[in-house]
Structure formats: C-alpha cells, structure tokens
Symmetry: C3
C-alpha cells in the first residue's frame, strides 16, 4: 500500500541521514585526531628543545664549578705566598732592630775625649 511505501521512504531517508551523520562524525574525528597529533608534535618539540637547553646549561654550570675550584686553589696559593712574605718581613725586622741597637751602642762609645796634660 502507499502508506507502507511512504513509511519505507521515510525510513530510507532517515537511514541516509544517519549514514551522512556517521560519515561526518568519522571526518570530524579524523580531523580532530590530526590537529591533536600536530599539537602533540609541537609540544614534544618544545619539550625536546627545553631538554637540550637544560643539558647545555648543566654542562656550562659544571664547567663553572671547575673554574671556581681553580680560583679557590689560586687564592689559597696567594694566601700562602703572602704568609711567607710576611714571615720574611718579620725576620728582617729583627735584623734591622739588632742593627739599630748596635748603632746606638756605637754612637755612645764614639763619644770620647782625649785629655793630655802635664803635671
């Protein structure tokens, strides 16, 4: 009958509509998937870039540590060197003091008079 035919036509249209809808969902999901994977690649590249920079900075920081150790060693040597020089200056001070004291004695002894008289 034509009622059944109309119903069958409606059913067919609905099925076509559903098929269209399903097809558009598949497209939408695939497009979304592509965008997600693109964003993932960008983020993974950003993370890799950060990891590389972090590695370089760590290496640079390690080198700085070595330089600082060398500087500490240099400063320690300079400090020891200056202690030596200070000790020499103190020894010299003793010598100079002795010479000054002896000079005072010489100066005292050099004050003499000669008196010659006939009784």
């Amino acid at each position: 009958s034509s009622v059944t035919e109309d119903e069958d036509q409606d059913a067919a249209l609905t099925i076509v509509t559903v098929l269209d809808k399903v097809a558009s969902i598949v497209d939408s999901v695939q497009a979304s998937q592509k965008r997600i994977e693109e964003r993932h690649r960008e983020m993974e590249n950003a993370i890799k870039s950060v990891q590389i920079d972090l590695l370089k900075l760590s290496q640079s920081h390690r080198n700085t540590g070595h330089i600082i150790n060398k500087l500490f060693e240099k400063t320690r040597k300079v400090s020891a060197h200056i202690k030596d020089v200070k000790a020499r200056v103190e020894k010299q001070q003793i010598h100079v003091k002795k010479v000054e004291v002896k000079q005072e004695e010489i100066m005292k002894k050099n004050k003499f008079r000669v008196v010659i008289f006939q009784e």
Copy 2:
C-alpha cells in the same frame, strides 16, 4: 499486513537506537575533545613556565660567569702585587746585609788603644 507493520516498527526502533547512539558518540567525542584541549593547555602552560625559568637561570648563569671573570682578574692583580712586595723585601734584604757587614767592620776598627809614654 500486521507482520510488515511489526517489522516496520522494529526497523523504526532500530533507527532511533542508532540515532541515539550516534548522538551519544558525538557528545562523547566533543567531551573528550574538550578534556584533551584542557590537558593540552595545562601542558603548554607548564612548558612555557619551564622555558621562562630556564631563560632566567641562563641569564643568572651568564652573570655568574662575568663575576668569576672579575674575580680571576682581581686574583691576578693580587698575585702581581704580592710579587712586587716580595721583590722589595728581597732588595731590602741586600741593603740590611750590607749595613750588617759594614757594622762588623766598624766594630772591629773601633777596638783601638791609645798608649802615650815618655822614653
């Protein structure tokens, strides 16, 4: 016939079920998309934050490098300074030695006696 009507009703129910299923898939996919985008935003913020901190740390590390260069320069000057002082101390030692030697001569020469007698 009522058999075809029942089959048509079953077909209609199935199509409604399929439409419902498709609608729920669309909702589910959109909800999932929202969560994924939210998580992406969080990760991208975390990555940006790390990039900023890394930049600051690199700058700070560069400054440290400059300070260390200044320290090296300072230490080099101190080392040169101490070499000068050491040279002066050594020159002074020569002067002090000469004075000590001359003093010994003076001390020897100062031992004299005066004898006056009448024959």
Copy 3:
C-alpha cells in the same frame, strides 16, 4: 508483497551496516583516546622530569653563588693583608735608610788622626 520484502531486507542490511559502522567508530575513538592519554602521560612525565632537573640546577646555581661570595670575601681579605705587609715593608725601608745614613756619618767621623807634638 515480495518487493516490499526485498526493500525491507535492504533496509535491515543497511541498518546493520550502519550499526557496524557506528560500533567501529566507537572502537576507533576509544583506541585513539587511549593513545592520546598515553602520549599525554609520556609528555607530562617528560615535563615533570624537566621541572625536577631545573629545580636541582637552580639550587646548584644558588650554591655556586654562595661559594663565589666566599671567594670574593677571601680575595678581599688577601688584598687587605697584602696592603698591610706592603705598609710594613715601607716603614722598614725608612728605618733601613736612617741606619744607612747614620752609618755614613759614623764612617766619616771615624776618620780621625791624633797628632801629639812638642813645641
């Protein structure tokens, strides 16, 4: 009629096809979701790992800053120490000069003759 029966069978097949398609989309979306979540976990772990390393490096860099401050303090003390020693050497130089000058005087005064004669 058999025409309607064939149409009904076609409609049923199409509905089955659509149901299969919908089921495969659900599977595909869920599989994709799993992969996305797995990739997210990997990226979030990578980001956490970078954040931890960055924190350690920042701490290490801060310690380096303290060490450099100590080194600066040490160098400052050494510089002050060497200024002291230099001042002592200069004072000593004055003493040595005075002793040398006095010695010249003594040497001059020591040249004397004694003449005794009878008129």
